[in-house]
Amino acid sequence: MTDDPQDRFLDALLHRAFSEGRADDDHRVAAALARIDRRSAWPRRFVSRALPTLAAAGLAAVALIFATGPATLSAQEVVERSMARAALLRDRAYDVRIETRFGREVEGELFVRGNERIVLHFETPRGSLWAGYDGEEAWVVPRRPRAPVLVSSDPARIESWLAERGPAHPFLQVDALLERLRNYDLQDLSSGQHLVVLGQRNATSEERGPDTLELTARAGTGEIESLTLKWERRGPLRRVELRLRDEAPRADGFYGHATHHDPGRRVLRR
């Protein structure tokens, strides 16, 4: 694609002619009008007062964490315990929230079975995007219903396929995120029923990794309750948050692509 206006324009018209339609417009307009209606319904005074209140609540929570005494486990031990726990072949579902550098917020879901099965789901105005690995094959079900499902025996392909779809849909692997903490400066912020470790980048950390990575886990088991990654100035992302939603068992087929698209959809194997 060149930067010639005519070429860019034609590219956009072709997308419109072959991939988009009035339903896409309806989604976009509805989202924008919902914002307008929300703003109209909220008196300005409420918004300006509510924000400092929320900020104060956040500060109080941070103060409480720091006021609590040191935990028995070291920060490194908390990470190791959570890694071991995450590797158990149990099904877990996490709610995912992503904030891009520009302020776009994307919500999704991450389903895992240990470190061996994974399904990522993002619901967007352009449709549902599913990606996963079922232990044998990596796959992506693109948002456009006419686009073929992409399948590969190389698990690494999933990351590049998602990268092609923009920064708002990163490939998230719990074990890889925890692994990163090994090269971060760790601080134990544990309190009561929760183990909390804050990791901060140092000279040995991965170049594109987040500036801070916060792990919260259950005190008894090390089961991950949340992971929060933050980037201060670099890269396309500002924040990624995973929060444990449930530990309900899922059928084996859930981790394959066929569960997540119409049976007649074309499948391309690479």
Partner: protein, 180 residues
């Protein structure tokens, strides 16, 4: 602003939403960012509705706001993937204006001309356009589908789009001449 303004605004926005999307998608590289800017534009237009001059075409006014949103995004974040500079965005508005005055009641009807042009492309160009825009393939997957290198794929698509631009704008010009 009363309920009537809100309803009228919604009707006008819906009428011009397709061309606004095309405008923004042309101006920035990331489709997600184009969606964000669509929202920002509509919200900004609603706030500025009191200042809208009813003698001006609404679509053009809306895209003027969109152009300012694009530049504002660029100022806020220097790595915003902007495809076009300020002068190019003006040229883009000219292209939108030309298409808006083509045959048909809305953009989707006018795009029938473009679909006709695609059907007249040589087979290899038609295959490339179909795989890229209908099947939404890209990158290496698209290249593998076309049995070409990534660079050859890029060139084939580029050539096909150039042919389509000539055909499409030729059809629009013919229509204008018929009207005259």
């Amino acid at each position: 602003m009363g309920m009537k303004s809100r309803d009228l605004f919604e009707i006008l926005v819906r009428e011009h939403a397709a061309m606004l999307s095309v405008f923004l998608r042309s101006a920035v590289r990331d489709p997600g960012l184009a969606d964000d800017l669509f929202q920002e534009t509509v919200v900004a237009a609603w706030k500025a509705l009191d200042r809208y001059d009813r003698d001006r075409p609404f679509g053009r006014w809306l895209r003027g706001i969109a152009a300012r949103q694009v530049m504002a995004a660029r100022r806020k974040q220097s790595n915003v993937p902007l495809a076009l500079g300020p002068n190019d965005i003006e040229a883009l508005e000219g292209l939108c204006h030309t298409v808006e005055h083509g045959p048909g009641d809305d953009l989707d009807e006018r795009l029938e001309l473009l679909r006709e042009c695609v059907s007249r492309l040589p087979a290899e160009g038609r295959e490339a356009i179909h795989a890229r825009y209908h099947e939404a393939l890209r990158g290496q997957v698209l290249a593998a589908r076309l049995r070409l290198s990534t660079e050859a794929t890029r060139k084939r698509l580029q050539r096909a789009r150039e042919q389509l631009a000539r055909c499409f704008h030729g059809k629009l010009a013919d229509y204008q001449q018929e009207l005259a």
